[in-house]
Amino acid sequence: DAMVIQNPRYQVTQFGKPVTLSCSQTLNHNVMYWYQQKSSQAPKLLFHYYDKDFNNEADTPDNFQSRRPNTSFCFLDIRSPGLGDAAMYLCATSPVLAYNEQFFGPGTRLTVL
């Protein structure tokens, strides 16, 4: 089945230690999104890629970076995680930018010690 896969499902890191979260998709969609969801809150978009075109949300901290080496994979890098970065990180894809449904992966729950 075509799907969005996120690895790992649970990630523990130490304060200030860089961490990378991974997302892959077999849907062959052009757009990949990263959302952050803190406890008891709604998901919030960090950035998205349309093909190789990177689009950062205005309020996304510089601590968060992303890479998309090919259509299938997208990575979220947190350069120096703080305690406030503990959250669920959700990857989503859609065929194009507009008028299309977004499909979400299972998420990676990040704990910062």
């Binding site: 999104y33 959302y35 998901p43 959700l90 507009a98 299309n100 977004q102 979400f104 992966g105």
Partner: protein
């Protein structure tokens, strides 16, 4: 930016009861989706419904785009329906990013 409001914030149902969840949005949208977030945190797509009515089993949804609201109906609720229901809207000129409502927490008691 666009505002999304969901009501009610919390809902407790007895198994077998019906419910209606509402989503109001402040501007025209190109995308509207309903999700169920399960206890493990995964967002399950329920409906992609920028306008019109759709049904899937015990669930159905209606979006009246001209009046800027959407409704999610759950009939004959089951304990497995428990979780958080999110409405999210997207606008093409903003890259179709989804703006989520605060969610409705549903608890179904057996």
């Amino acid at each position: 930016g666009i505002q999304v409001e969901q009501s009610p914030p919390d809902l407790i149902l007895q198994e077998g009861a019906n419910s209606t969840l509402r989503c109001n949005f402040s501007d025209s949208v190109n995308n509207l989706q309903w999700f169920h977030q399960n206890p493990w945190g995964q967002l399950i797509n329920l409906f992609y419904i920028p306008s019109g009515t759709k049904q899937n089993g015990r669930l159905s949804a209606t979006t009246v785009a001209t009046e800027r609201y959407s409704l999610l109906y759950i009939s004959s609720s089951q304990t497995t329906d428990s979780g958080v229901y999110f409405c999210a809207v997207g606008v093409a000129e903003y890259g179709n990013k989804l703006v989520f409502g605060a969610g409705t927490i549903l608890r179904v008691k057996s």
